[in-house]
């Protein structure tokens, strides 16, 4: 079954490592849904969070290929694991119109934050699990969404 998989790649902080990862994925025909590369507590080590579509077998093959990269230290597919806190971040620009108060109510319920208000629109930020973010988007859609940007997922293990 095709499924979304979240993969965490721990890599050595070397020049071009992100290009190696994305290059490998496209060379082997995998589509990336989202990818984030950022430093960690150890300046020599970066973590790359990757979301790809595919069957378990196919994603296992991706993971093995990524693991072969000389700069890859560790690779984890956390999709089927429960002991991870997974978060995503969104900035969303909604039509203000005359439904301002309704939108503020939703912001409250979702514990989101209004970061900017103009005559025409409101900009909101929200972080949380992906399903919460998707629900928020759906509820805002009727008011007219100008644009939104999502960060893609990041995760940390509970242990």
């Amino acid at each position: 079954m095709e499924d979304k998989h979240t993969i965490i790649i721990t890599v050595a902080n070397r020049v071009g490592v992100l290009a190696r990862i994305t290059g490998l994925l496209s060379a082997r025909g995998y589509n990336i849904e989202s990818i984030i590369a950022a430093p960690t507590e150890n300046p020599d080590i970066y973590k790359v969070h990757l979301v790809v579509h595919g069957t378990d077998e196919k994603v296992e093959q991706v993971a093995k290929q990524l693991n072969k990269l000389v700069d890859t230290i560790k690779i984890q597919d956390i999709s089927h694991k429960r002991n991870y806190i997974v978060r995503e971040f969104i900035l969303i620009k909604v039509n203000a119109g005359n439904a301002r108060s309704e939108i503020f109510e939703l912001v409250d319920v979702f514990r989101a934050k209004v970061v900017d208000v103009t005559k025409n629109h409101i900009i909101i930020d929200l972080s949380g699990p992906s399903h919460k973010i998707e629900r928020f988007i759906e509820l805002l859609r009727p008011y007219g969404i100008h644009e939104f940007v999502r960060s893609g997922k990041v995760a940390v293990s509970e242990n």
Binding site: A19, G23, N67, D71
Partner: protein, 577 residues
Amino acid sequence: MTGAEILIDALKKEGVDVMFGYPGGVVIPIFDVLNRTREIRFILTRHEQGATHAADGYARATGKVGVCLVTSGPGATNTVTGIANAQLDSIPIVVISGQVRSPVIGTDAFQEADVVGLTRSICKHNYLVQNIEELPRIIKEAFHIASTGRPGPVSLDIPADIINASLKNYMYPKTVDLVGYKPTLKGNARQIERLAHAIANAKRPLLYTGGGIISSNASPELVKFINKTNIPVVITLMGLGSVPADHQLFLGMPGMHGRVAANYALMQCDLLVAVGTRFDDRVTGNLQTFAKQAIVAHVDIDPAEISKNVKTDIPVVGDAKNVLAELIQKVAARKPDEWNKTVNEWKTKHPLAYKQEKDGPIVPQYVIDRISHLMKDDAILVTDVGQHQMWSALFLRHRQPRSFLSSGGLGTMGFGLPAAMGAAMAFPKRQVIDISGDGSIQMNIQELATCAVNRIPVKIVVLNNGYLGMVRQWQQLFWKENYASTCLRQGPQCPPQCKGPGKKCKGVYWPDFVKVAEANGLLGLRAEKPSDVDKVLKQGFKTKGPVLMEFVVKSMENVYPMVPAGKSINEIITGDA
């Protein structure tokens, strides 16, 4: 010390004795140092592609890292095919290229090309050196990565300012520290136990081995293993020679142009033990039907190969040599049984055959058969890509490992001649024979001059059928004889829809290979009838220095057996022979 001096010193410390390449603006300082270095012999090829294949041939023949040195821009882009070729066959080479000065990288400077970008997907690892301090470490890592684990090519791109910069406290590191790179060499004991158990229980076990046996130097272990267990073995193109071809347990090469017995055995076995091989589509044919009755065990140093194409029941990640050695200890001896009888019957019933009529045209298989009889026992055979390659794989009596060098994965026409040069530089005392076709040889024919000038004694065999024979064969069998752009003699005087050379053929024999040889300073010989074959081969083999022997062969001969692309490997066309 300057970057150039550090590089050459490091190469010496890595044991490099021969290098191939081509100079250019940014690498002049390296050549300046190299020219004063007695320990490293440099061979100037006539094209950078030739240099990479020569380094590759050197690596295949010796097991050591092959090295080439080229300039930036076009020098580096010309190495791309050679790097990809080494990558697909897991051959350890280090390709060193000069790069434009660091400050102008990214400005489309003269002879600038993004080498790390170009080579990223076709090499095991690559480097763009950022400062002189890291140069020694990077060279050490490049050689380490190329030669350990599953070997492969490493590209090393050095900007001109770093080549010229100087470093005060130069020390060549003794070890590498790569947190993300630690190949697994020893097989998991429990999995090896499981495998031994599966072998004990199997009724129809089969061994399927490939280039991993060669790269881990596991031939002695493999022979010992089959002798103890009497398990028949099929060996891929990349592994030929790891068991002598006359060994009675050897069923031949499997796959698209494999022996019937080899393919039947793959389809019928109940335990398939794959070692150092990767279930390539040219071997497996239709994956849906491949070895369906078998429990699949896979021994490979590269974990990513396990279950990539065929689902594996018993995975063993490790070096083939280590794992086989351990397996020999654990496995019980087995006597030849019904299964051995069956496979031997297939072998006898479907022999490799060809017909050479006394007064007919020379058939290419006959030439290869005669080479096999007349060559020295320890000869190194190198091929190009196409029909002659398959005939060489099938009809040569392979005797020992690292003595049959062929471009398997990438299928690179033009590989043969430069790779043979590399092998000959590594083993000046051994006979090195390059078997090629009239198509392939023209893809790196400029290296004839390199052979002549450097007196590299490669014996070149050109099987001239006037066609790009393998593609023509497909056109004949699957494209209604529409020989589009495969006749090398076709010109404007010919009808556009030619169905092959008949009596009225207007094609022109071109080029004259004997003259090409002579123009390049080689002895050129030609055989046009069967009775000339031995004469030409004998004369060519006994001549010192490089020789080109042309054999004008039957143009429409096909390679059989053949499994059409995408079919099950037991759906074999055996042809008329």
